[in-house]
Each structure stands twice: as structure tokens, then as C-alpha cells.
């Protein structure tokens, strides 16, 4: 059992709370750095996708998990980033500048979506963002001079400071660097007043306001950061696939993204990446399982949708904190062995919530 003896306030601010965390995160980073030498090219591509989806997941996690604003049209931001990147690199803008611009454009679109969100809550916000997703998908299909319409658009290999990134390995490192930077940025925000303002808005808008938090400003800020991260993810996604078309950024993609953060665990940074791992490896697992299933099931269309649906329902019912919640319980079990109790993570229900001011 570990007991952390606190002797100064720095300890609560530090990202790694104790030596064990330093060790394990260093080990994880080392494994990720060595991955190209260890795993096959195919699996390296899968890890690259996990990093890309992880970046997008971080953004959605910040918006949904920490600010409490649900977006059912997040694939639209992914698409804005992807098309901005395609258009800009197509016009000869260098990669670094293009991806910054893609993030910026996505953030601007995020602000535009965030403004009506100031007046909408819960399911209504979900429907508004869903509608926004459809509109953007339609724009991608119709604005042929920029997006290439339904025929899609090809991308060149990214070139960074004059070096063209052709190999999967180089691109993997690029994604790794951006994923690490995005994670650090989000963690920094969460341990500073901005992140706490997001949490305050999620838990009680009325008292957030009474604490001097300007709802309009922080909600739009959350939308902007979330969209910017989705934009970065979209730009990388476009480069990875080398070809984009409007149907990649439709409602199904948005649902995948929501699925990712819910299964990963709403309200945890780990959850974004755990969810990404789930989203990327699940199709492989299903493909493997198909070999052992009777033909009637294995060949049925929509098997993946059914599996995703069942997994989502199971998580909502039995593990609302997602994969990260499961991990927390496992970790606590080991830390407290043999004193873990089943009820430790059970929360008291709040019957006293004020309804008057809503």
C-alpha cells in the first residue's frame, strides 16, 4: 500500500504524483518511441490511428467530460480540419503552418457552433450539434472547388522543414509528438483556473456564475479548444489516409467519437486514449471472432454496429465511468489489498438538487 506524505503544495500541482507514475509513464513513452522497431507496419498504422483518435478524443473529452456540453456533430470539426489541411497543403502551404491553420479554422467554426450552445442544454444541444454535423457534411459534398465534392480529395505527403514525411514510421513519430503535446496542454489547462471553470460549468452553471465565471466565455472557449484538437486530429487523419471524402465525416463518425469518450470514461484524460484503443482495436477483434462464429452471424451485415451498441449499453449500465473507471477500481484493489470493498466507488445520490433556478 502506498501512502503519499505531502509536505508542500507543489506536490498537488505536479503532473506525476509519485515515483511510480514517473516510472510507468516513462516506460509507456519509451515503448511508444521504440514501437516502430518492435511492431509490424500494419500494427504501427493502427497505433498511429489510436494517437490520432486520441487527440480528437481529448478535445471531445474536454467538451463533454469536463465542460458537460455534448456534441453529436464532432466529426464535422474533424472534417473541417481535414479539408483545411488538404486545401492548404494542396496550395503549397508548409505542413506546420497548414496544421496550425487547420486547428485555427476548426476553432473558429467551434466558436460559431458554441454561440447557440449558450442557450441550449442537454439533449437540445445534442440535436443542434447533430444538425450542424449534417450541414457541414453537405457543405463538403457541394463545395466542389475546394473539397472535390463526393469524388473526394487526395493529399500529398506532409513535408516538415523541407523533409518530406513519406514513411509510416516518420508519420507515426509526428503523430506521437502532437499527441503528447495535446495531452500536456489539456492536463495543464485542467490543473489551472480555466479547467476548473469548465468543471464548475459542468456541475452547476448557476453557482459557477455566482463564483464569477462568465458562462458565455468559458463555454465558447471549451468549444474552440475541442474543435481545434479535432481539427488537428482531422489534419493528421487526412494525411494518414491520403484521401478524404465527405462520407468519412458523417453522423456515424460522430457517433464513433461519442462512443469513444463514453467507453473510455467521461471526465478522465486517460479515457480519451483508452476509448481510442477500443475504437481502433474492436474492428480487428470482431474480424478475428468472425472466423469462429457460425456463418449466419459472421456474414450478417451490421455485426460491428450490434457489438458496439451492446458494449455501449453494457458500459452505461454497469460501468458509467468507462474503461478508466474499471482501471481505477483495479488499481485501488491492488493498492488496498486485501481491504478493497465492493461499495467503495458507490456515490450517494443527490436528492437535494435545487430545481428552482434551472
Amino acid at each position: 500500500m502506498r501512502f503519499i506524505f505531502k509536505t508542500n503544495y507543489e506536490q498537488d500541482i505536479r503532473l506525476a504524483k509519485h515515483g511510480g507514475q514517473v516510472f510507468w509513464y516513462a516506460a509507456l513513452l519509451l515503448a511508444l518511441l521504440l514501437a516502430p522497431a518492435i511492431v509490424s507496419e500494419y500494427w504501427l498504422a493502427q497505433v498511429t490511428f489510436i494517437l490520432i483518435y486520441g487527440i480528437v478524443g481529448l478535445g471531445l473529452m474536454l467538451l463533454s467530460g469536463f465542460t458537460g456540453q455534448f456534441s453529436l456533430g464532432h466529426a464535422a470539426f474533424l472534417g473541417v480540419g481535414a479539408y483545411a489541411q488538404a486545401a492548404l497543403t494542396g496550395a503549397g502551404v508548409p505542413f506546420a503552418l497548414a496544421i496550425a491553420a487547420a486547428a485555427g479554422i476548426a476553432a473558429a467554426v467551434g466558436v460559431i457552433v458554441g454561440l447557440p450552445a449558450l442557450r441550449l442544454k442537454g439533449i437540445y444541444l445534442g440535436i443542434a450539434t447533430l444538425a450542424f454535423g449534417f450541414i457541414v457534411e453537405e457543405v463538403f459534398a457541394r463545395w466542389e472547388s475546394v473539397t472535390g465534392g463526393n469524388a473526394g480529395k487526395h493529399l500529398k505527403d506532409p513535408s516538415l522543414f523541407g523533409i518530406t514525411i513519406e514513411s509510416g514510421e516518420a508519420f507515426y513519430y509526428l503523430c506521437l509528438v502532437l499527441a503528447v503535446l495535446a495531452t500536456l496542454g489539456v492536463l495543464n489547462l485542467l490543473r489551472s483556473p480555466t479547467g476548473r471553470a469548465f468543471v464548475a460549468i459542468r456541475d452547476s452553471e448557476i453557482s459557477a456564475q455566482s463564483m464569477g465565471i462568465q458562462l458565455a466565455r468559458f463555454k465558447t472557449l471549451s468549444f474552440a479548444i475541442s474543435a481545434a484538437l479535432a481539427g488537428v486530429g482531422g489534419a493528421l487523419y487526412a494525411h494518414k489516409l491520403k484521401f478524404i471524402s465527405p462520407d468519412q465525416f458523417g453522423v456515424l463518425q460522430s457517433i464513433d467519437l461519442i462512443l469513444m469518450v463514453v467507453i473510455g470514461g467521461l471526465g478522465s484524460v486517460h479515457g480519451a486514449f483508452l476509448g481510442a484503443i477500443f475504437l481502433i482495436t474492436m474492428p480487428q477483434v470482431i474480424a478475428l471472432a468472425k472466423d469462429h462464429l457460425p456463418d449466419a452471424i459472421a456474414l450478417a451485415p451490421g455485426l460491428q454496429g450490434v457489438v458496439y451498441g451492446v458494449v455501449l449499453i453494457a458500459f452505461v449500465l454497469f460501468e458509467p465511468l468507462g474503461l478508466y473507471g474499471r482501471w481505477l477500481k483495479l488499481r485501488t484493489w491492488f493498492q488496498l489489498f486485501p481491504f478493497y470493498r465492493r461499495g467503495m466507488f458507490r456515490r450517494q445520490k443527490a436528492f437535494q438538487k435545487s430545481e428552482r433556478l434551472r
Binding site: 498537488d12 489547462l189 489551472s192 468543471v199 456541475d203 448557476i206 455566482s210 443527490a350
Partner: protein, 267 residues
């Protein structure tokens, strides 16, 4: 102690549809006093609070705080002026720890901007430590040490009440609005609350405006009491004066003559 008026409500009225919730209520809160609003349910006490924190806008009337008109401000601009409040049914940030709740109370005193926080620069790091120091002072005052890292969602009601008071104190207010600080507390916790309210007034120099039903607590801590009924001012004075006011007993219990009118009439 009482030097000048800190908050002054002038002819406040608010109408929700056909209901006149507050009707021409005027009062002054002096610097350094504990001013209490009492009255039966539905008298409009909490509505007055919500008018001061700008959650509602009055139909007519004005509120002046420290010489500035309050009605020109948006709800989030109230806390920076030095007005903090608690809520009748506790509005804490449930899925955050007690410490995080208190640090959110420091929001109006944040020192760095977005980019500095994104990079967690030295300035942000030092500001965080200063904020923590302030929060720890409040934790010390209200004896919340053992709950510091607990999630609010798992805390008992009595402790949540204290956490909410602590969060309000973290904003370093000049005027503290307490909406029923003792509701849901047991006798011992109510005594603690009375002790703290006096401490907050005497040691921190904070003016307190509260809504309260527990008359023992009211007479123990209040300097002046305003009794309301049906949205109107009934009586204003020291706790003893207000309790002795005939209209107050009538508002709570009904007048002697009323009993007749309630009797069933012979057919």
C-alpha cells in the same frame, strides 16, 4: 462598527406572471453587521437573494452596492465586486474535490491568462500556489482539513453546507449572502455555524446578509432582522423587537380573529 451603508435595496418589486413575489421592499445593510431576513415560506426571501446575485431582474426598483448600481451588472460580474453567496439547496461542484471547489472560489482572483495556463508557465505555477495558500486559510478556519481531498458527491449534508460556506469565503467577499445556513444541520452543527458566522463578521470583517428560519440562531448572531411576508416588509429592527412585533406572529401563526373564519359554518 457600523459605518455607512454597504448594500441598499430601494423599492424592489418582482413579478412572475400574476404573482407579485416581492413588493416594494426597501432595506439598507450596514457595513460590518449581520442582517437577517426572516419570514414564512413563500415570503420572497430567497427571491431577494436572487435579485442581489442578479439571477433574477426586478420588475422595478434599484439595488446599490458600495455606491454602484448593481442592476447594470451581469450575474458573473457580481462576485468580482465582493459579493459571494451560498444556496438554499447546496449548489456545489459535485464531481470535484473539496479543494477544487475552494479553488474555483478563487476564480475571480486568477492572475494569468489562457496561454500562460496552457503552457503552465512559472507565473501560473506561482499563482496556483498563492491560491492554494488562501484556500488553506479557509480550510483552517472552517476545520475542513480531513475532507480536503474528498469528492463532494460522497460527503454528508452537514459537511457540504460548510464546504459551500468555505467556497464563498474563498472569493474574499465584502458581503456574504447566506441562504438558510442552518437548514439540514443538527443542533451541534448549527452551533458551529453560529460561531463561524460571528467569526467571519468579527475577524474577517465581512458583512453578512442571511435568510434563516432557526430563531435561536437568528437571535444569537443577527444585529438586525427584517421580517417579510407575502413579498412585503413586515418589521425591521433588533431580533427582540421583531419577535415582539404583533404582525410577525400573525404572519407565522395566523391572527386570533382568523380562527373564526376557518371554522366550518353550520349548514
Amino acid at each position: 462598527m457600523s459605518t455607512g451603508v454597504l448594500l441598499s435595496a430601494k423599492e424592489l418589486s418582482v413579478r412572475f406572471g400574476g404573482v407579485l413575489a416581492v413588493n416594494k421592499v426597501s432595506f439598507d445593510v450596514h457595513r460590518g453587521e449581520v442582517f437577517t431576513l426572516i419570514g414564512p415560506n413563500g415570503a420572497g426571501k430567497t427571491t431577494v437573494f436572487n435579485l442581489i446575485s442578479r439571477i433574477y431582474t426586478p420588475t422595478s426598483g434599484a439595488i446599490e452596492y458600495d455606491g454602484t448600481p448593481l442592476l447594470a451588472r451581469a450575474p458573473h460580474e457580481i462576485a468580482p465586486l465582493g459579493i459571494a453567496r451560498t444556496f438554499q439547496n447546496i449548489e456545489l461542484f459535485e464531481h470535484a474535490t473539496v479543494l477544487q471547489n475552494l479553488l474555483i472560489g478563487r476564480h475571480v482572483h486568477r492572475e494569468t491568462g489562457f496561454w500562460s495556463q496552457l503552457l503552465f508557465t512559472r507565473a501560473t505555477r506561482e499563482a496556483e500556489i498563492r491560491a492554494r495558500h488562501k484556500a488553506e486559510q479557509v480550510i483552517d478556519l472552517l476545520e475542513l482539513q480531513k475532507h480536503r481531498d474528498a469528492l463532494v458527491a460522497g460527503l454528508p449534508y452537514g459537511v457540504r453546507k460548510v464546504v459551500e460556506l468555505a467556497r464563498a469565503l474563498c472569493t474574499e467577499p465584502k458581503l456574504l449572502l447566506l441562504d438558510e445556513p442552518s437548514s439540514g444541520l443538527n443542533v451541534e452543527e448549527t452551533d458551529d455555524m453560529a460561531f463561524w458566522i460571528r467569526d467571519i463578521r468579527d475577524e474577517l470583517g465581512v458583512t453578512v446578509l442571511m435568510v434563516e428560519h432557526d430563531m435561536a440562531l437568528v437571535s444569537k448572531v443577527s444585529d438586525r432582522v427584517l421580517a417579510m411576508n407575502q413579498g412585503e416588509v413586515l418589521a425591521l429592527g433588533t431580533p427582540a423587537e421583531v419577535q415582539a412585533h404583533p404582525g410577525v406572529a400573525e404572519a407565522y401563526l395566523g391572527a386570533a380573529g382568523d380562527v373564526e373564519s376557518l371554522r366550518r359554518k353550520a349548514a
